[in-house]
């Protein structure tokens, strides 16, 4: 059986902030762009972010994540980007072809430039009872609550005090759940002060220097045994959900399948395709942007998307070298700014170390 083959100038995998910004940069230079996404709606993880972003106006500061997603989607549609949703990319072959499963079956899409903007997946944490229903990623809980209006539990224990743990805890409270505690093995809170204060004000107890010893229950989580590290004194918390906010890893399987050189970076979340500062991988016509290129923040993903889009249209012959370089130097400036804080500093070092590797 032979599959139908579609020829396009440029394809972007993933319609999150990185993917849509890559598509916009390219379509503005006259390229023909199709964006593929397995979800029914565009926006990636922005669609479930209901808190207001801070930072600069260029990155949607003061707006909520789902509003930024809707704006990018409107711009894409307005400028002629084809957003092809409910379309899962199953494969990315060494010859550069994408295999796509759409609503009407499987087909091959051949594009001269492909940007991988596939995002990240949540890391996990194993302890006795971690397979019980009710134990899930904090992002999974956020999806349930903010997109579908369903509570992951009535009494939730959050594991991890980074921004994801703090923000999702607050959003669970907003939706009417009780957060029985936020636990971290570290002796200090990892996320921003502003997010910390917000949950603290609601009276949520913090269990720092603590670990989960065991989750117990018959058909799902009913209680959790936690203990202070090194003290050995346990405490049982009544909870019906445990949310794990212990970091993210780049979703980079497509890059590996394409034959891109893969590198490991602890700072950037795990294995990712090697790329240069202009978001080119070591395979021709193959680019990467956003969390798939190393886990950072949505605003960084937007800038990396722009960078990848510019490099792609330059390589496609749609933009002259000097013009591309001018556009990239602007993006580079914003990236430096975004990675300026104490949180971004480690990311910046990891990226620079990658570029020259």
């Amino acid at each position: 059986m032979s599959l139908a083959v579609e020829e396009r100038e440029m394809a972007v995998v993933g319609s999150g902030p990185a993917g849509m910004c890559a598509a916009l940069a390219a379509v503005r230079a006259g390229a023909d762009v199709v964006v593929l996404d397995e979800n029914e709606r565009a926006g990636g993880q922005l669609t479930k972010q209901i808190h207001r972003f801070f930072g600069s106006r260029r990155h949607g500061a003061g707006k909520r994540g789902f509003e930024i997603a809707a704006e990018l989607e409107r711009e894409c549609r307005g400028e002629g980007v084809e957003l092809r949703l409910s379309s899962t990319v199953l494969g990315f072959f060494p010859g550069g072809e994408l295999m796509v499963e759409g609503e009407d079956g499987v087909y091959v899409l051949r594009a001269r430039a492909v940007v991988m903007a596939t995002g990240a997946s949540e890391k996990s944490l194993a302890f006795p009872g971690w397979t019980l229903p009710g134990v899930m990623g904090a992002g999974a809980a956020q999806t349930l609550v903010n997109l579908h209006g369903v509570l992951p539990g009535r009494r939730v224990l959050m594991v991890g005090t980074g921004n994801v743990g703090l923000i999702v805890s607050y959003q669970l409270l907003q939706a009417g759940a009780e957060v029985v505690g936020i636990l971290d093995i570290s002796d200090r809170v990892g996320g921003y002060e502003v997010h910390y204060r917000r949950v603290r004000r609601e009276g949520v107890p913090f269990y720092l220097r603590h670990r989960v010893v065991e989750a117990r229950g018959e058909e799902g989580v009913e209680e959790v045994l936690v203990e202070e590290v090194g003290r050995g004194r346990g405490r049982v918390l009544r909870a019906d959900a445990i949310c794990l906010a212990v970091g993210l890893s780049p979703l980079a399987e497509l890059a590996a399948m394409r034959g891109c050189r893969m590198v490991y970076s602890r700072e950037l979340g795990g294995f990712l395709p090697w790329h240069d500062g202009e978001m080119r991988t070591d395979r021709p016509g193959t680019y990467v942007a956003g969390d798939a290129a190393g886990v950072e923040e949505a605003s960084v993903a937007m800038e990396e998307g722009r960078m990848a889009g510019i490099s792609a249209v330059e390589d496609l012959g749609r933009m002259r070298g000097e013009e591309a370089e001018r556009a990239r130097s602007e993006v580079r400036r914003f990236l430096l700014e975004l990675r300026g804080g104490p949180y971004g500093e480690g990311k910046l070092r990891a990226k620079e170390c990658l570029y020259c590797a």
Partner: protein, 107 residues
Amino acid sequence: MAEGERVSGRVERHAVIESFSGGREVVIFVDGAPIAAREGEPVAAALYGAGIRVTRHASKSGEPRGPFCMIGRCTECCMTVDGARNVRACRALVKEGMRVETPGREG
């Protein structure tokens, strides 16, 4: 858990979000029993909304498993949907009258 106390459930009202993924209320069947669901929402969300956390039982140990990643990666929520096996309940969308079976329940 105290007798009759329900874990999970629907968000009653929300200060920021105006609407959720599901449309009109429909009925689907889980292991033969009817539950209320919203058209177009993921089956896994409908189950949680009805207070059902178990999506399958592990084939060897028989231990209960439930939704874990909600993005179609972990396969912990694989169920039988309208006769098709190994369907990810977090990706399959609710249609009226859908029949969902929990794998391993009989064993």
